[in-house]
Amino acid sequence: MDPMTTILGGLGLFFIGVKLIGDNLKRMTGKRFRSLARKTTNSPIMAAALGTLSGALTQSTSAVTFIAAGLVTAGLVEPRKAMPLVIWSNLGTAALVMAATLNIHAFILSLLAVTGLCYFMDLHKATQWRALLGAMLGLGLLFLGLDLMKSGTEPLRAIAIVRDFVTFSSTSLFIAFLIGALLTLVAQSSATVSVIAVTLVSTGILGMDQTVMIIYGAGVGSGLSVWFLASNLTGTPKRLINLQMVTKMAGGLVLVPLFLLEKASDIPLVLDWVAALSPDPARQAAWIYLIYQISATVSVTLLSRPLATLIEKLQPPNEEEALSRPQFLQESALQSPETTLDLVDRELARMVFHLIAALDNLRLDMAHRDDLSHHSLLLTATQSLGEEIQGFLADLTDQDPPREAMEGAVIAQNRVSLLLDLRDTIEEMIQAVEKEDQIAPEVAPLAHALLESLHLTLGLLAEEIVLRDPEGLDTLVAMTADRSDMMERTRRSLIHRSRQLDLSAQELLFATTAQFERAQWLIHRCARLTRGRDDAPPIAVPSGP
């Protein structure tokens, strides 16, 4: 058979194998990984161990990094605690490269035989076996592909043009480095490219120096690949991406100069060391890959504190994150339930400030401002912040605090629910009136009056949540008392005055007034609940968004 066809066929099987292993292991471990990551990131050693294991299982540092970034985005893990997970996943990827040098031909064929039998018995259709059988099939195909490539490359050495090409490329180590980086950008995995290089060096197609530079190039290319994949990410999750990129680059920064020094000066360094470990070029190349990952992982781990500070400075939280995250609630606050409730009040006030800012987008009074945050961003942030506060209050009540604190926590939970309902109502109201040009001129003044009124009562609510001035709360309760008769009169009056009001304008009129009424009722309820806990001294008003 034509050697090139054999190599390409082997390469195809290898790629299918890599994909099958990664996809199926991710499916098997996804949920468990998330739960494990939450638990283990409190200990840097456990997080590093989990990172190494997940790197070995998924053979994709990108996958581990993106899952970790997802956990950070969801607020389940702090970015700094996720760092060991991301850094040490690199070490795990060495498992495949090391395994590729072992003679496990008989094991792989046996594995394929068992897997094939299971497929024949339709076990792959059962949910509980599907992912495992997929991963087993992937592993079998991957090593079968490598075998095919080996058998295809051996005859190539005899072909003059191949010999000439290898001789040419061996004259420029830079080209080998570039090839490693570019192939990794395409394959999205330095381990994949390195396994191919290990296979080619074992058959003599590649020289040792070229293979080393391809592996180093693959490491750097892998860093670029993660960075390209995450180009749409911003804020805190991007910090982990940047960290992964730095980790991958760090291996190159340490080892490429050492390699060049060793070649130029004959000082025995890494090449000499791996030659002592094994006479087999394939094993030497696999050791090189492992050394690259160790260098990267260890150097970045040693520098992790200043590196984290630098990355945090370069990658501040984005606007939505800053608005969504609690500013005052920290886990340590749970140790003092009374203080926690004051801090919860500050966060509740922030929720209201977000809603005020969302309304600002539509108010004529703010038409001159060009620095407003978009209302959709503010409404999303209000939702997230509310959910964070709910989670915090749930943690507080789980601790079985003193009765007074428990009552305060339950009232606070009710107020969060009211504010989340208020957020939904305001969103509906904004959607109804945001298309200024579609509002009938007869309805527009009333719509703006409703916005101004709601803006005022929201402002008073935010103020009173933190000040808890009984007189101010009584005023707010009185202002937001049931005025459905008045609203009905206003609607009738407008319809009476504007006899030409078409159906859509009438719909808008009914929708906005009904939403306004609901919003005022929710503010009223929230003010009454706030009035319920006015025994504590007032606290400083936080600045608005």
Binding site: L364, D365, H368, P445, A449, T475, A478, M479, F516
Partner: protein, 121 residues
Amino acid sequence: MNLLEKGYVTMTVTVENADGIQVVVLEGRLDSMNASSVEGQLNGLVTAEHNRIVVDMAKLDYISSAGLRLILVMAKQVKQVGGKLVLCGMQSHIREVFEISGFLSILTVVETRTEALTSAV
């Protein structure tokens, strides 16, 4: 958009004295652009001696939440010194804003300045 449209120069505040009652005449637009300036002008107006205030809004064309809040602050100050605040002369659309905001249930609002002066005594 020029300064007039932006509302920078469209608010005038005049304070008159009518038999010991302070009459604040608001003219133009009372919004976030000028509310703090108006608040500054009215600072010190309400005292224990001068605690009867009438706010004449006949020439007030627009009021935003910032303006409403200013009126609320003034009402609080008057209450603290045991005085009386009366609002009068509102155009129908301004009255609608006050009614929607729930101010009519917590403040004294009358039609004319004469009524207001009588009510403030």
